[in-house]
Amino acid sequence: MARAVTNQRKTINTILAWAVGLLIFFPILWTILTSFKTEAQAISDPPVFLFFDWTLENYAVVQERSNYMRFLWNSVLIAGGSTLLGVIIAVPAAWSMAFVPSKRTKDILLWMLSTKMLPAVGVLYPIYLIFIKFGILDSRIGLIIVLMLINLPIIIWMLYTYFKEIPGEILEAARMDGATLKEEILYVLTPMAIPGIASTILLNFILAWNEAFWTLNLTAAKAAPLTAFIASYSSPEGLFYAKLSAASTMAIAPILILGWFSQKQLVRGLTFGAVK
């Protein structure tokens, strides 16, 4: 009896959750489907859902027009580089905040987060001038630095919350055993914090990948990532839904796949420590 109720409840849950899940996912699904239609089918009335002549033509057109692999490679390098650099700088800072807190720790943390509130467009000219001065306009390294600085507060904050979860006694024990500070961080702390660090990296990789203001405004041809790629497909002349969909699919596919594979990791790590 009890079991039947559970099963019934489980069925209702399943139907409900799947309905909501599909509804939320639908815009992405529709984009992917449209990318395989012809331009005429893309705007047909009534809309066609699955039964159309699937074509790869749009992808061919997009690839012919822009060198997708180069944009993709730039995206990978810039998002990856800025995230790694950010984590390297953030780990020691987060360590000291979590394990040697002072009265000002929380203020410093909040101040760091507040630097993220600087409206990017307001400082475009200053940053652009600085980039020219250092000759790093349209360079990957320039973007890596900027994106690292933008995401650094979030990285530090996330790591801080993870580190705080780790009982201080373990570190103290290591210290008693004669571990140096370096050893303590590298061999004791880091392994324990791996899930947290991994999800920090994932989240910030996604944020860096999707950043569209600086990546667009500080690049030309050499360092332009996928955000610039998509800027050449918004509203061209004539019918463009299918081509736009193909370009969109290409722009989001890599990160979507990465996200799906690391979904478990992301969920596990995203506890923000203190949330529990």
Partner: protein, 288 residues
């Protein structure tokens, strides 16, 4: 526990992050403040000298200023409300036993991986277009006149697009919190005959308070500066001009860097007011 030695080591280890962020904040900020006191028109020869507080006065006295502050707060507030409420509901739903839980979760978090530009383009063209958009077809199917989303319901449309992007984030964070709920306590409450609503209000919600705080804090930081969603869809028309967008118009469209910089300073002030406000209400949640 903290020795003198470890204290200085800690300072040393924080130094790179602090110095970098200080530089990142101070250099552009001081340049912005500097420009804001100047008549700086790149198209008319650049720096045309000091003008005192003229830019500040002009920026606030423009008829677009207060509406833009309002629009900013409306978008931030609207998106926060939607994502938190729906996020809690979704998190509770996804925590229930069901078939294919993993796949459903993937479907729900997918929008988070989509670039803002792409999601704005897709929503604008393929869903909200009043002639060819999918929503127009749905409306017509039910015999209703298609809604001109981006002009007649511009604010709602933008809030919808942004909420769609951020709902996965809220759901994820809240889900991890729901998972850590003490099920024994809930079961005990159920045994005692506490109704669903009471269980939610007195046990679940307090437990989620800190997760909600995190969601509100992080999202506010990102939502205050949303740009791509507006740039792609309405370009600031129909009452969707946020403070960020107004600054964009002053700096890039009107090529008045001095005026735009003054706007930037206002935006920073607004952000800090919001931040202090936030800390007041939610800060305690983070302390414990």
């Amino acid at each position: 526990m903290a020795t003198q030695h470890s204290r200085s080591a800690a300072r040393l280890m924080m130094a790179p992050a602090v110095i970098l962020l200080l530089g990142w904040m101070l250099v552009p900020l001081s340049m912005t403040v500097l420009f804001s006191f100047k008549k700086y028109l790149p198209m008319r020869g650049g720096d045309l000298g000091w003008v005192g507080f003229d830019n500040y006065v002009r920026f606030v006295s423009s008829s677009a200023f207060w509406p833009s502050v309002q629009a900013t707060l409306l978008i931030v507030g609207g998106v926060l409300l939607i994502t938190v409420v729906l996020g809690v509901v979704l998190a509770l739903l996804l925590d229930q036993p069901m078939w294919g839980q993993g796949i459903v979760r993937i479907l729900v978090i997918a929008p988070f991986f989509v670039m803002p530009t792409v999601s704005a383009l897709v929503w604008k063209n393929m869903f909200m277009d009043p002639v060819n958009g999918l929503l127009a077809h749905v409306w017509k199917f039910f015999g209703a006149a298609p809604v001109e989303w981006l002009s007649q319901a511009s604010m709602q449309s933008i809030i919808l697009i942004v909420s769609w992007q951020w709902l996965p984030f809220a759901t994820l964070i809240l889900l991890t919190a729901v998972q850590s709920l003490d099920s024994e306590q809930l079961e005990a409450a159920e045994m005692d005959g506490a109704p669903v609503f009471k269980r939610f209000w007195y046990i679940i919600l307090p437990h989620l308070a800190r997760a909600i705080t995190v969601v509100v804090l992080i999202q506010t930081i990102f939502l205050l500066s949303i740009f791509a969603e507006i740039f792609v869809t309405t370009q600031g028309s129909f009452g969707t001009k946020t403070l960020t967008y107004l600054i964009f118009q002053r700096v890039l469209e009107s090529q008045n860097v001095g005026l735009g910089s003054a706007g930037g300073v206002y935006a920073i002030i607004l952000a800090n007011i919001v931040a202090i406000f936030l800390m007041r209400i939610v800060g305690k949640n983070l302390d414990a």
